[in-house]
Amino acid sequence: MNETIDQRKFKSITRRELLKLTPALALGAFAIPPFQRRLLKAGLGFSDWASAALFRTHHPAPTFADSELTPFSKFPINDYDVDDPGVDFEKWNLTVTGAVQKPGDYTLAQIQNLPKKTQNTRHVCVEGWDVIGRFAGARLSDFLKLIGADTTARFVMVECADDYYESVDMQTALHPQTLLCYEMYDQPLTREHGAPLRLTIPTKIGYKQAKYLTDLKVANVLPKVGYWEDQGYSYFYGL
C-alpha cells in the first residue's frame, strides 16, 4: 500500500527534486560571451592535454601500399595566402637558432646527406578531407642531432617564406615519422607543395605541417605558437 500524502507536501517534494537539477544551469555560462571565450579556451586546452597524453612516441601512423596513394595531381594544395612565395633556391638555407649547440645556416645538401626516409602516409586536413601521399626526407630527429639540439627543450618552432609559422612539441619532433621533407612522389618538392623544404608529420593535422621552411628554432618558450593556433585552433592536434 502506498504512503498517502497531501498535495502540498507532494509539491514540496517535487520542488526539492527540481532544485537538485540547478547544477545543470551552470552550462548557461557558455551563453555569456566573456565566460564563453574562457570556457571554450579551457575546453580546447583540455582536449590538447588529453591529446598529448594519448600520444605514444613509438606508435607509428599507418603506412600504405603504393597502390593506395592518392594520385599526385589530386593532392590538394592548401595555403593561407600564396601557392608560391617565390623562394630563391640558390640562396636558400635553413637558419637554426635557439637551444642548439651548432646554430647557423644549413644548406639543403646538408639535410639531404642525412639518412633518407620514404613513407606513404595519410595527410589529414582540419577541414575533413584526407589524402595518402608519398613523402621523403630526413628525420627531424636526425637533424636535431646534427645541430646538437637540447631535446629536453619543449618545442621546435619553424618559420616560413610566406610568413606562416608553426611549432610542435618535442615528443612529436622526435617521432621517427616526423620528416624534414624535400621529396614528394619520388620527385623534388614542387613550389606549391612547399619547396625546397617542408614538414611532414603523419601524427599531426595538416596545418601543422608547414611548407617553405626558412627558420628552425628549439625553445622552451614560444613568442607565438602557430599561424592558425593563434587564431583559435588546437595547438597539439595530434592524430
Binding site: N2, F10, A24, T203
Partner: protein, 231 residues
C-alpha cells in the same frame, strides 16, 4: 528495482492520485546536460561539416549538401571545433555517468529492450502507426519505447567511438579500421548524428502527445497518474 510510489490527496476535493518516482536524479541530470551537449555537438558538427561538405576525394570536390550557416554553431571552422572539442568531454562524461548509473542501480531494466519485449513490438506499432487498439500498459515503458531508448544509447556510444576514430586516426587506428577505414568512420559519424536527430524528433513528438505530467516527470522525477497503475 524498488519503485517509490505515493498516493497524493487533494486537500479540497479529497481526490486521490497515484504518483510514481520514475526518473532517478542522475538520469534527469544527465538527460538535461545531454540535451544541451547534443544541441551544441550537432550544431558545431554541422559547421565543421561545412568546411568540407563531402565524403569523396577533395579533388574534384562534389559538395554533398550546402548546409546553411544559420543552422550551424561556431561561426567558422575554428570556432566550431572549440565547441565540439569542449562539449565532447561533457557528452562523454555524462554518457559514462548515465550508463554507469543505469548498470549499477539496475534501473536499466526499466528501459533495456530484451527478447522478452519482442512480442510487444507489433501491437504497439499497430497502435502508433496503423490506428490499432491501444495495448494495455503494464510497465513504465512499452516495447517500442524500450526499443527507441536502447537504440539511442547504442547510437550514443557509437557517436563517441566514430568521433574518436576521426579525431585520433593514428592513436586509435584500430577503431578506424573496425569502421572500414578513416573515410567510412567520418561517414558513420555523420549518419549516426542524423539517426540521433531522428530520435530527438520522434522523442519530442511523443513528449507533446503524452502531455504535461510526462514532461514534468523528467524535471521532478515524479509522474502523476501514470497510465500503467491500475485505478
Amino acid at each position: 528495482m524498488a519503485t517509490q510510489a505515493l498516493t497524493v490527496v487533494n486537500n479540497k476535493s479529497g481526490q486521490a492520485t497515484e504518483a510514481v518516482y520514475e526518473h532517478p536524479y542522475i538520469v534527469r541530470l544527465c538527460h538535461w546536460i545531454n540535451t544541451v551537449a547534443l544541441f551544441v555537438l550537432i550544431g558545431s558538427g554541422l559547421q565543421i561539416f561545412r568546411a568540407f561538405p563531402s565524403f569523396g576525394p577533395k579533388i574534384p570536390q562534389h559538395n554533398l549538401i550546402n548546409w546553411p550557416k544559420s543552422l550551424a554553431l561556431g561561426g567558422w571552422l575554428g570556432g566550431a571545433l572549440q565547441w565540439h572539442l569542449t562539449f565532447m568531454w561533457i557528452y562523454i562524461a555524462t554518457g559514462l555517468l548515465y550508463l554507469g548509473y543505469q548498470i549499477f542501480s539496475g534501473h536499466y531494466k526499466q528501459i533495456l529492450f530484451t527478447p522478452r519485449d519482442v512480442p510487444g513490438v507489433w501491437p504497439m506499432a499497430r497502435y502508433y502507426f496503423f490506428f490499432g487498439a491501444k495495448p494495455p500498459a503494464k510497465e513504465p515503458y512499452n516495447a517500442l519505447q524500450k526499443h527507441a531508448y536502447t537504440t539511442v544509447m547504442v547510437l550514443g556510444v557509437l557517436s563517441v567511438l566514430t568521433g574518436l576514430a576521426i579525431w585520433k586516426p593514428v592513436q586509435f587506428s584500430w577503431l578506424a579500421w573496425m569502421m572500414g577505414g578513416f573515410h567510412l568512420a567520418r561517414l558513420w559519424h555523420f549518419i549516426i548524428m542524423w539517426a540521433i536527430v531522428a530520435f530527438i524528433f520522434g522523442h519530442l513528438v511523443m513528449v507533446v502527445l503524452h502531455g504535461w505530467n510526462n514532461f514534468v516527470s523528467m524535471l521532478t522525477g515524479w509522474k502523476k497518474d501514470p497510465e500503467y497503475i491500475s485505478k
